[in-house]
Symmetry: C2
Subunit: 358 residues, 2 copies
């Protein structure tokens, strides 16, 4: 049975996206590709408010997350972590043979400006990584405040994963002074997985050129050289790029402000609904994501069983990630979802909850 | 205007492939994905005659080409080259900070068993790379003969790019004793780009575990750990994997022998046609590819103009690659193409050639 996806990525993909992805194939060295590439990267630059290049990486986000540290850590990396993906980034950094330290806070809590400032004040680091919106916990860290303290550390590359927030909240690449801002397209962009996008600052591009052993596939210099010709170093995932072009156009038709508001409204409705149903909210107050909400189990709900029943009704439910699986569960509200999708899901769960609560 | 692709990859993608790619999205940690993954990897194992795992890498082929050397070179790599892509592999190897030497022969010539044996007999190397079917020149090197001499060098990892030959000619991974055999799906598999497949031997998997700094995204150990659960380390390009599943099923319905014969027949027809038209064949006799044929310009044909005219008629023509551009041009005959596609193209070119020959 086909299940409607209520998991925080990959998200449900609409028919118009598949139609865009089914356009006749083109060669990536044909002018037709350059036109497509330029259309997509221009729109991404508008979305992120930057004139710096936005690269299209044929990979999932972790590819370019690895690439970012391979390009930008020459001395030592500070990996800030408050969930599964930010913690894994530290592991990935070390596996590249890069010196790195982990600065963790409790899951459910945000990375704070103070935490970043304290760690970087040692002067040991020339790069930092953080995840803006931790998909494992539903916490959105205060990027503006962190960006403010990053101004005190201009020689530290500011590398931010916005995998599940890009296009759902304003991210002003220039104003924040980001060096790298990356995302996968299977979250708020509403596409199938397989493509990552990555804005890189001029300072980071210049720094990368002097970093040894950064390889080829995720090499920023190689990306830039090709992007200037509206192209990619290797054969790109053309169908997904067609899909991204269509999704970006749809975003600008909706209007970015309307889009951000739609996400905020769905998030608020989800928080309200969870509390009405007697669940807690896992993410700390003031740091709750606009693209997914983690409810805390009230201790009386069999989330495994709830997921099973939802599956039988044709809905794919999430029951938490990693070490907080079944202690929490996540409800996505992103991409092309609307309030009516949320209401549909709330109704389903209201019907099923009495069967799984003791 | 939409152009029918007669370039050697990305190739024309048929409507049934796009339909398969448009199946409703699923989560990669849902059992539905494990079923899909197992179906695809089982079929790839049958295709390559191996019980060793075949990994699905969300990247183009160059990603896993870089990954292969990062995983398997501990001492020094011998990169054998007879065209643009095999030469670039040497560059990619060095950019990873890996010690490597280039052993080149003239473009148009194959890599020979003697060349490999001579180079490896120094004892300096613990890995070698070669491209079975050089897409830049249309040369298919004698893999069986090379495999024979590789038996004298059991400690040298045998890493072969079959990007434009896999599924068009028999490749017996076990019998050849390959350590890595990789391909992108936008060539003979007839899919849009964005996915690479990669068979890895037990010996290579064990060796990789002891190689430092191999990173995460292309780490063989990580691939294997996840593949055992019919999964991938990072979010995979699910739509392309649906497409690959459909294409593999179609291959087995056609029958592999029929499929290989179809490619051989189209190749022979193309060679005949080129010679009838007064062109030479660029690849050395006995080493001509079954998936694409490079014609040599007779000196009197304006290939740029021919390409332009073909474009105006709705056909994307190739006019050579890299340093042999316009001195050669390539005609693809692979994936879902049939003899009638070849005849359609020959007719077009016969109509146009008188206009571009002096």
């Amino acid at each position: 049975m086909t299940k409607k996806l209520y998991i925080p990525g990959p998200v449900e993909v609409n028919a118009d996206v598949f139609a865009a992805m089914s356009k006749p194939m083109i060669g990536h060295r044909m002018p037709e590709y350059a036109t497509l590439h330029a259309s997509v990267t221009d729109q991404l630059q508008t979305l992120l408010n930057t004139k710096d290049p936005v690269f299209l990486s044929t990979s999932s986000a972790f590819g370019i997350m690895e690439g970012a540290v391979r390009n930008l850590v020459q001395k030592r990396c500070a990996n800030f972590a408050n969930g599964a993906f930010s913690t894994k980034w530290h592991d990935v950094t070390k596996r590249c043979g890069i010196k790195a330290d982990l600065f963790s806070t409790e899951w459910g809590q945000p990375i704070t400006a103070k935490m970043v400032d304290d760690a970087l004040s040692s002067g040991d680091y020339d790069a930092m990584t953080m995840v803006h919106n931790e998909t494992s916990t539903g916490v959105m860290s205060p990027l503006t405040e962190i960006a403010e303290v990053m101004k005190k550390h201009p020689y530290v590359s500011f590398i931010v994963d916005t995998v599940s927030s890009m296009s759902a909240v304003p991210i002003d690449f220039e104003a924040l002074g980001l060096d790298v801002c990356l995302a996968g397209v299977q979250k708020a962009f509403g596409l199938p997985p397989g493509l990552a996008v990555c804005a890189v600052s001029r300072a980071a591009l210049d720094k990368a050129k002097a970093t040894p052993n950064r390889g080829y596939y995720f090499d920023f210099e190689e990306f830039e050289k090709n992007d200037l010709k509206h192209n990619t170093p290797s054969t790109p995932c053309i169908s997904l790029i067609y899909g991204l072009d269509a999704q970006l156009k749809k975003m600008f038709v909706e209007g970015l402000e309307n889009r951000y508001q739609r996400h905020a409204d769905m998030a608020q409705a989800t928080r309200n609904w969870l509390q009405q149903q007697g669940f807690g909210l896992f993410a700390a107050e003031g740091h709750r994501s606009v693209t997914l909400t983690s409810g805390t189990n009230d201790g009386n709900t069999d989330l495994e069983q709830l997921k099973k029943l939802a599956g039988e009704h044709g809905y794919a439910m999430d029951n938490g990630y990693g070490k907080i699986k079944n202690k929490t569960f996540r409800i996505p509200h992103m991409a092309d979802m609307t309030m009516s999708d949320m209401e549909e899901y709330f109704s389903l769960l209201e019907e099923l909850l009495p069967q799984v609560r003791s």
